[in-house]
Amino acid sequence: MASIVDESVTSDSANLEARSRFREAAGLVAKIVKFHPRLFVTAVAGAALFAVCTVASSIGLRWMIDKVILVRFNENRSDAGALVIGSVIIIGIGLLRAFGVVIRRSYAGKTEWRTAATLTDRVLDHVVAQPVKWHRSRMTGDVVARCGIDSDASVAILAPLPYSSSVLVMMLVSAAWMLYVDIPLGIVAVCVFPILLSLNIGYQRRIDRYYNQAQKELGTLSEAVHESFDGVMVVKSFGAEQRETDRLAVITGRLRDARIDAVAIRSMFEAMLDAIPTLINIALIVLGALRVRSGQMTVGELSSFIYLFTLLMFPLRIIGYLFSEIPYSVAGWRRIDEVLSETIIADPMRKITTSPRGVGIQVENLSYSHNPDTTLIDGLSLKIDKGKTVALVGATGCGKTTLLHLMAGLIEPCGGSISVGDGGVALVFQEAFLFADTLGYNITLGSEISAEHIEEAIDVAQCREFVGALEGGLDTTMGERGVSLSGGQRQRVALARAIAHNRALLLLDDTTSALDPTTEAKVLNNLRLLAGRQTVLIVASRPSTIALADEVLFMADYRIADRGTHKELLSRSARYQALIRAFEDDRQNR
């Protein structure tokens, strides 16, 4: 409740902010209305038809009261012709009005969702065009939100526009109409519009503040709940179930209190917004009776006047609510605009050239850094002959993964050149990423790959035993809605993907460490059978894996420190020995 008190202090800046927000909202509307102008114009036309018919419907009523009802009950005469005409007017206008509503609502929906689709498409194009560097500087959830929730939020501003325009038309037409029917009564009624409107908008603004507060508490609660449930094992281990419940209950209590504050205000305003127009209406009846007495108005005119006024109250009542979405729309649009106005970073892949025959990969004078101040990789050169299997060995954080990602064209070097054999690169990441699609799609990723190649890849990657057990075979859906695979199985599917793509250079980033040593040995032996076709560079930490390679590249501090067979390196490099010993420390020291 405290925020009501400080309202006067901040109202100036709030007004200023509201005005600039309004300008921003108008800019947003101007921009996105252009995506599907025809749909929008149709919706507004429907809205206008609805508005005019709403005002016109009072004509039918007036006709019926003056020419049929009063004639029949006060003068006891029947006028069948007037009854028919009145009926036709009422039904005709009623149907037209409904038609207007149907057009307005369906086209407002079309405008909104088609625009959302257009926006999402554009954001997707941008997101997909941005290379890995861009993605790494962002949270996945944030980018997904910009593609989905934010575009929905931006277009939410469009939904109420046709209806709002009809409210505007209705107010103008009915104001003219009321003034035409009776000037003094018309003036009173027309003065009511702005009063109710500002009351409404003021209420909306105030209640929004409480809703925002509640929304903030909800965010806190959601975060706390996530954490608490994630930590369920710890909670159970220490018997802290009750304590955690109490902690979450405190946050829930704050959410409840914020909402109850909102209910208190809302219930009051709901009642006021109900009472004030009705009281004015009563006053209009009294005033109208005076006009009827002085002969300046008929009973039918007065009744239709009151009817029209009643009819107008509903739109006036919800108009504030209609615009309550604006801040969300503007915020959503800002986030989308951020993505759309960013320049697209050049694809690092373009720098990778084709190496001469017989060379698997050649790196010359390569340099790389995350930021301008430091150079991580500086002047690194290496060359691997086609068809060789080479192990890349080094301590954690020495730059193995970075080097692999540079070779795969995922990130861009600052200088130097990389060339790979004709046919490109396939990289298998440390952690396999599988799509919630079929097994087949996970292997081909939508490329045309012959069934023969796929089957071969499945065999080479040692996937046969579990793929054979899948009833749907390659058409089996993976992931949440389908079969869930173990970590090692996922790695093997990722490996099958790389093998099926049949690229000249195969990069394995510690891929096989998730497999048990026996399976790993089988996979690596299978790979060697393909060695004539593919050059393999494998990041390895198990001595048994390293021993399977033709040659070892020993990496330390972002440089190739040494190169040779496993035995050669062991005998001549103290650092290499120390590293390998660290790998087996496990066995000796613990």
């Binding site: 997101v127 018997g239 009750q242 109900d274 009705t278």
Partner: protein, 597 residues
């Protein structure tokens, strides 16, 4: 915890919801009466018009005095009704908020007490949605849908009463002509709900596809395979838009149906009224009043059509919430707990079998995780559990920690059946250090205090010292006050384990169950961990799930599990000498980590 959609009818679901959160329905009768009084404000205008025309504006006799008097009465009615309305809205809102608060808190506790089997990765998100978005659907419902049902429902009731009191024949005409609207609404409504279901489904598909496109971006780029996935996403975008538009168009036809019927009803009333004439007792005023009332009567229809979908969403949300509350909690609390002996807690497993499907099938493909295990672990012995993944060693450790109960057989701690030990005491005496210890996004001290909220600063420091971690803590930017970040992300994997060990040490447990980390940590942390572990396990019964065989070599006793059975049990040297499975695994491991291959 499967979602029991359709298991209960809507009415039964709502009733059970009231049972869970009594505040939702408490005093609902009074609220309804207030709402009925509140809706009187909306019939004031038709009645005033009728009275004005009939009694104030007779062609030959215009009585302004009467009109003013009547207007004053009407104004008072409006004010009273509005106050009642205010009260009704407030009571409904406060009742809802209190009720939903209770429901949330009940959910928190219930979910925390669910067994670990109900807490796996896939279900975690669902559980979070139960207390967040599902309860939110109810909040949304109570802040709009419920209001509409309550206020518009009582409005229709009041208007119908006023109509009948004016003239029952005209009222019947009004009801008869507008009756077919019910069938139109029901038909369109059914389609609308189906269309919304499709829209929701397409929306989920869109979000799923887009989130894969984004999170799989490195993979897609590594294979230059963005285009097919982008095409798939855009298809999902279009399908979602189509589904939303379809629902919108059905809604567009549904929305004005009430007004269309109102028009026909009004014409019918006027025709019947005019036909019957003055002799029937009808007056011009009551005719006009009837026309106004007809609009009032059918006006709520449009709003009803808007909230039906929301109502169904809310009921579905409630159903899911009840589904969680119906899921039995993990090991139940001991009703009459027996105290544990003060020292020397030995562990005994008698004929223990465990199956996740809660029944022991004999079929080969659904083998129990553990089968007829009999074990005795004396106090202060250090035991290493060895076996391939899936052999049952984690489950065995969980049964000893009573994170689950055996399907058959019993586990005894210090001679007392675990089922009869109070949870609080058990958690003080026995601590589990999981593979990936979880840390809250707070300071290290806060995370330590989680184990023992009443511990003093000195206790923390003593534990840190005993575990030889003082120099590590001092090396941190803010010592014990260092923030660990989300799930402890600012610390390395090894450091997170150090915190977990210190946390365990703080409770000074008699039994320590340790699930070793599989992921390698850097060499310095490794040494620290080994030392801390050594210090921690002195004088305690320690059961390690060994992923490194080096742990087994140091244990007093090695227990080998294979497909749910204890196949070997003895010291490291014994088992090596025996030349069985353990000796084989050990030899394999030796060769995999050997320098010379």
């Amino acid at each position: 915890m499967n979602e029991p959609v359709g298991r209960f009818t809507t009415a039964k679901t709502i009733n059970r919801g009231f049972g869970v959160a009594p505040a939702l329905s408490k005093g609902i009768g009074v609220t309804f009466v207030l709402a009925v009084v509140g809706s009187l404000a909306r019939v004031v205008i038709p009645v005033t018009i009728q009275q004005t025309i009939d009694k104030g504006l007779q062609p030959d006799d215009i009585r302004i005095g009467f009109i003013v008097q009547m207007a004053a009465v009407a104004a008072v009615c409006v004010v009273v009704a509005s106050l009642a309305l205010r009260q009704a809205v407030y009571r409904l809102g406060v009742g809802a908020e209190n009720g939903l608060y209770t429901m949330r808190v009940k959910l928190f506790e219930h979910i925390h007490r669910l067994s670990l089997a109900d807490h796996n990765e896939e279900r975690r998100g669902a559980l979070v949605s139960r207390v967040t978005s599902d309860i939110e659907t109810l909040t949304m419902f109570f802040s709009w849908g419920a209001l509409v049902w309550l206020l518009d429902g009582s409005l229709m009731f009041v208007v119908a009463c006023v109509m009948i009191s004016y003239d029952w024949i005209l009222a019947l005409v009004a009801f008869a002509v507008s009756a077919p609207l019910y069938f139109v609404l029901r038909n369109l409504q059914r389609r609308l709900v189906a269309a919304y279901d499709v829209a929701r489904e397409k929306n989920a598909e869109l979000l799923g596809t887009v989130s894969e496109l984004v999170s799989g971006t490195e993979t897609l780029r590594a294979y230059q395979a963005q285009t097919p996935m982008l095409r798939k996403s855009k298809q999902a975008v279009r399908k979602r838009a189509d589904a939303q538009i379809r629902a919108g168009v059905i809604g567009a036809f549904l929305f004005p149906s009430g007004e269309v019927f109102a028009v026909f009803t009004i014409v019918a009333i006027i025709c019947v009224g005019v036909f019957r004439g003055v002799d029937s007792g009808l007056t011009a005023g009551s005719m006009v009043g009837f026309v106004f009332l007809t609009y009032r009567f059918l006006e709520p229809i449009a709003e009803f059509t808007e909230v039906v979908d929301q109502t169904q969403t809310a009921v579905a949300g409630l159903r899911r919430v009840l589904g969680v509350l119906d899921t039995p909690v993990g090991p139940p609390q001991a009703p009459n707990p027996v105290a544990l002996p003060s020292r020397d807690l030995n562990i005994e497993l008698k004929d223990v079998s465990f199956s996740y499907s809660s029944r022991l099938d004999t079929q080969d493909d659904d083998l129990p995780v553990l089968r007829r295990i009999n074990l005795e672990i004396p106090a202060r012995q250090h035991v290493a559990l060895v076996g391939e993944s899936g052999s049952g060693k984690t489950t065995l450790a969980r049964l000893i920690a009573r994170l689950a109960d055996p399907t058959i057989g019993s586990v005894f701690l210090g001679g007392v059946n675990l089922k009869r030990v109070a949870n609080d005491e058990l958690r003080r005496r026995l601590v589990v250090v999981p593979q990936e210890p979880f840390l809250f996004a707070e300071s290290i001290a806060h995370n330590l205090l989680f184990a023992a909220p009443n511990a003093e600063r000195e206790d923390l420091e003593k534990v840190i010292m005993n575990l030889e971690l003082t120099d590590w803590v001092q090396s941190l930017p803010e010592g014990l006050e260092t923030q660990v970040g989300q799930r402890g992300a600012s610390l390395s994997a090894g450091e997170r384990q150090l915190v977990a060990l210190a946390r365990a040490a703080l409770t000074n447990p008699d039994v320590l169950i340790l699930d070793e980390a599989t992921s390698a940590v850097d060499a310095i942390a490794e040494v620290r961990l080994a030392k801390a572990l050594q210090a921690l396990s002195v004088g305690r019964t320690t059961i390690s799930i060994a992923h490194r065989l080096s742990t087994a070599t140091r244990a007093d006793r090695v227990i080998v599990l294979e497909r749910g059975l204890v196949t070997e049990d003895g010291t490291h040297d014994d088992l090596i000498a025996r030349g069985g499975e353990y000796a084989k695994i050990y030899a394999q491991w030796l060769s995999a980590t050997s320098v010379q291959n």
